[in-house]
């Protein structure tokens, strides 16, 4: 049964992935909608980042995580290399939690 769950999830997920990629060829999209696709992807990624930064299981995630993310964003804004952005964000959150911030 476990293998059925894994295979169903894998098949469905691959289906979503490959459908988008192959549809792109089949659909003869007008120029304006081609320009809209990256905008849509950016909106999805921003929504994903915001929900991952602020919420956990449908509720507020506590202050430590968004504070770390904010430090990461400020570092990225200052054009600090990507690796340091990620380390800065995780490090800030880790230190805040060490200090007892939820």
């Amino acid at each position: 049964m476990l293998i059925a769950v894994i295979l169903a999830l894998a098949a469905g997920t691959y289906g979503f992935r490959v459908a988008g990629v192959l549809l792109r060829d089949r659909l003869d999209l007008p120029e304006w909608s081609r320009r809209l696709l990256p905008v849509g992807a950016a909106a999805l990624l921003a929504a994903l980042a915001a929900t991952a930064a602020l919420t956990e299981a449908g509720r507020f995630a506590g202050w430590a995580r968004p504070a770390g993310v904010l430090v990461g964003v400020l570092l990225a804004w200052r054009r600090v290399p990507f690796v340091l952005v990620v380390i800065g964000a995780a490090g800030t959150t880790a230190v805040l939690r060490l200090l007892g911030v939820p």
Partner: protein, 225 residues
Amino acid sequence: MIAVGASFGAVAIAAGLPIWATLTMSAVLYAGGAQFMAVGLVAAGSPLAAVLAGLLLNARHLPFGLALGDSLGPRLRHRLLGSHLLTDETTAFTLARPAGEARRRAFWLAGTLLFVAWNAGTLLGVLAGGTVGDPAALGLDAAFPAGLIALLLPSLRDRDTRHAALSGAALAVAATPVLPAGLPVLLALAGPAAIAVRRRSAPRGGARPALPTRVGAEHTGEGSC
């Protein structure tokens, strides 16, 4: 990615998942959020919910594929293989590059590295079991959103993209307490979809060119409002 993969491996083993299932999941499903969710729901005894919730969570990969489509390569086998490497991180990394050859190289580089890192991480987590540190104590949960935003920042200089991203993010966060996981993020497509519908009813972009067709429709008298 190695660290998050390792925490997945450790969490899955701790939840009672067999080693083969944990490794298989990372290789064939290869979607972090859905994997963590599936482990939780399977351990809670609801396998059907695990499948449905996981698929809902992964529906966002379809628009990602649409946006990246031609960055995977010219041949069908590139597209079939590359599709499996499509993730949030690969999409963000690839779209941050200028279109063309640079973007194609970025896709395959990021896609391959992340796939290897994720699966190597899972293996490490499985082997280390309980000795992998608590991912929350290491602040790993802040790394994912911070990395995504860092990759998105350059594209936010474009006004339309910035508006769509900010309104999508606000909408998704507001909807998170009331909708099941996966749906709030998909709501972010509402903004770009609204633009698409508006452009469609006025193909030349302005309000004026749309007028004649509407008048014409009224003349035929077929519209029953």
